[in-house]
């Protein structure tokens, strides 16, 4: 199925682009990522723990970044296979500079992001019903950019191991993240 | 393993079961009552409908351990010990409300709950009441007729066997 959307990051495209090409940053930003190892030029082996409501599963797969066009666009593929099935997402991410727009010379201070691609799931995980796929892939993308924003602003520089505990959703009595460890998430 | 005590159709049972054992498998494979059928794994077909403490439930979406201490009624417990059919069973027979029969035990059990809660349902209420039960053979029309016919036997229904009664 198609996925598409937009996001904004409060820093210029060059910085946003570089963050997304940096495996250390990707490891922190990809929801549930618990390992990311370089296996080739722009290709990384990925371990990912997906936790969503009561559902959970470990996926092994890869991240591949292609068609680099700094700072305008690149293509990203994320795929993983696990006991509960497989997930695959592929798409083009386009970046554009945003300023305050008050004049044509106004400085670019932020990045507008547009992404469009395809998401695919298979195996038992596909049995959860089609209605879940769209909402949950959007949730993952949202979390990815939210985390990237924090990383870009210099907050939330946690170790990859800690990031692994980050979950995509919380249901009743979920374990995995200790209260208080991530005050922003548990706040209010 | 965990020990559970249940009463099924008035008979007390005590067994050690794995916590993951589904109630339907307990009834079918441990107790040996195979009238309750498994039709899907997403709780959407209702073939496995039984009564637990007087409430219609899908026995494929309940672990046997959750029924510890419960009074259970299955399709096998509806007819009188002498074989006299329950009025709902009789209505299903009279109205030709079944073809292959696979969904029928669940249909009969949900009908019992529909009529207990609403003794004189309209066609619309009957159809809404059957919402959790799939039938691929009948197109439902004769089932609707059967529920209606059964509702006319209100006196007989009043003396229904009830789980826990």
């Amino acid at each position: 199925m198609k996925i598409a959307g937009t996001a904004q990051l409060p820093f210029p495209p060059e910085k946003a682009y570089d963050l997304m090409q940096d495996p250390a940053m990707l490891a922190l930003a990809i929801p549930g990522c618990n390992s990311l190892e370089k296996t080739g030029e722009n290709e990384y082996k990925l371990g990912l723990k997906m936790v969503l409501a009561s559902l959970s599963g470990q996926f092994e797969g890869k991240v591949v970044l292609t068609e680099p066009n700094r700072p305008y666009s690149f293509k990203m593929l994320v795929e993983g296979t696990g006991k509960i099935g497989f997930v695959k997402g592929e798409g083009v991410i386009q970046l554009s500079g945003l300023g305050d727009g008050l004049s044509i010379t106004s400085a670019i201070t932020a990045t507008g992001i547009e992404f469009a691609g395809e998401a695919q799931i298979g195996g038992s995980i596909a049995s959860v019903g089609q209605r879940m796929i769209d909402t949950t892939s959007k949730l993952m993308v949202k979390q990815f950019f939210k985390k990237l924003e924090k990383l870009g602003l210099g907050d939330g520089v946690e170790k990859a191991g800690e990031a692994a505990a980050e979950q995509m959703g919380s249901g009743a009595g979920k374990t995995g993240e200790k209260p208080g460890e991530n005050p922003e998430k548990w706040g209010k | 393993m965990r020990t559970i005590n249940v009463s099924v159709n008035g008979t007390k049972h005590s067994h050690e079961v794995e916590p993951r054992m589904l109630l339907i498998h307990y009834l079918r494979e441990v107790i040996g009552l195979t009238g309750t059928h498994m039709g899907c794994e997403t709780s959407l077909c209702g073939a496995c409908t039984i009564e637990v403490n007087g409430k219609a439930v899908k026995s494929c979406t309940m672990f046997a351990v959750q029924a510890d201490g419960a009074e259970i009624l299955t399709i096998e417990g509806l007819a009188a010990p002498d074989g006299t059919l329950h009025p709902i069973q009789d209505a299903f027979w009279t109205e030709h409300a079944l073809q292959c029969g696979f969904c029928t035990p669940g249909m009969i059990m949900i009908t019992k709950q529909i009529l207990e809660r609403n003794p004189n349902p309209t066609e619309h209420e009957i159809r809404e009441g059957l919402d959790g039960n799939l039938c691929r053979c009948t197109g439902y029309q004769h089932i609707v007729n059967a529920v209606r016919t059964a509702s006319l036997h209100r006196d007989a229904l009043a003396s229904l066997p009830k789980a826990g009664a």
Binding site: M1, K2, G5, L52, A53, S54, L55, S56, G57, I84, S124, V128, G129, Q130, R131, I133, D134, T135, T136, K138, L139, K142, M168, G169, S170, G171, A172, G173, K174, T175, P179, W186, K188 | R2, E18, P19, R20, L22, M38, E41, T42, S43, L44, G46, K55, A56, V57, C60, T61, M62, F63, V65, Q66, D68, I110, Q113, R117, D131, G132, N133
Partner: protein
């Protein structure tokens, strides 16, 4: 079709249950969402604590002008409670839309709320009712508004070891009119969209408007833009129509086999208008 093995505990008290949950066990209430996932081996909890039988979570009572519904109360008990039918009919009406008889006999309000399914029925009504969600853990209790509780797709403010203990809804009879209108996904019976409306009018003007929407996007929400567009306005169908048309604004509408984002957004408006009209007809 067969779950992985797990350990099962059926504690006799809430305190005992919370102690087990604090150790990392997962709660099992009615199991209507969890058990199908376990049968598909998508959910593989190691230890389940059965909180579905705790009498401490099973009550519906009126206290200080509010209605307290224990987390263990089933959808059937909500839909058929004389107290709720008389004093907060919206919650009862909404409960009657959930699943089918069998699901309503087992499923609990606490389980549904904690699951935060983006297409669940209750959240729409709870938003419209200004409901409060009470959470409990070994460390104590806290009470959140619905907007504080429902954070995102399957994401709530619940912390590990914490469960929903009750839902508080207002005594809402009298002048207020309410309605829940749902467009069913034909296969699963979940809401493609579900709109809950709650209105009061005085002197031909809307004095209170609450709208909760579920199914449209990744999270049920309170449609404050619709509410703001109506409060103080004349009670006319044109006003309802215009306000309802705003309901999808700013929402990232979901898309699936059963409804495109465009269609969902359209239905959200149409069903919001229907809910508002029906609620209005029931208001004094």
């Amino acid at each position: 079709m067969i779950a992985n093995s797990f350990e099962y505990s059926a504690p006799g008290s809430l305190k005992e249950a919370l102690a087990l949950l604090a150790e990392g066990a997962k709660p099992l209430a009615g199991g209507m969402s969890l058990i199908p996932m376990m049968k598909l081996r998508l959910a593989n909890p190691e230890h389940l604590v059965d909180i579905g039988r705790l009498p401490e979570l099973n009550y519906i009572r009126e206290e200080n002008g509010e209605l307290h519904i224990g987390a263990g109360v089933t959808h059937f008990e909500v839909e058929s409670s004389p107290l709720l039918l008389g004093k907060c009919p919206l919650i009862a009406e909404t409960a009657a839309h959930i699943g089918d008889i069998q699901v309503r006999n087992r499923g609990t309000i606490g389980g549904s709320v904690a699951h935060a399914d983006p297409s669940a029925d209750y959240p729409a009504a709870l938003h419209a009712l200004d409901a409060k969600i009470v959470l409990v853990s070994g460390e104590g209790t806290r009470t959140l508004s619905t907007e504080e509780f429902f954070l995102d797709t399957f994401t709530t403010a619940l912390e590990p070891g914490e469960i929903v203990s009750e839902v508080i809804v207002p005594v809402d009879a009298g002048l207020t009119g309410t309605s829940y209108q749902k467009f069913l996904q034909p296969a699963s019976g979940f809401a493609i969209v579900g709109a809950a409306a709650r209105v009061r009018q005085e002197g031909g003007k809307f004095t209170l408007v609450r709208v909760g929407m579920t199914g449209l996007s990744g999270n049920a929400y309170r449609a404050r833009n619709v509410e703001d567009a109506l409060v103080g306005k004349e009670v006319t169908d044109a006003n309802i129509q215009a306000a309802a048309a705003l309901v999808a604004d700013g929402q990232d509408a979901s898309s699936d086999l059963h409804a495109t984002a465009e269609y969902r957004a359209h239905l959200a408006g149409a069903y919001t208008a229907r809910a508002l009209r029906a609620a209005l007809a029931r208001s004094a």
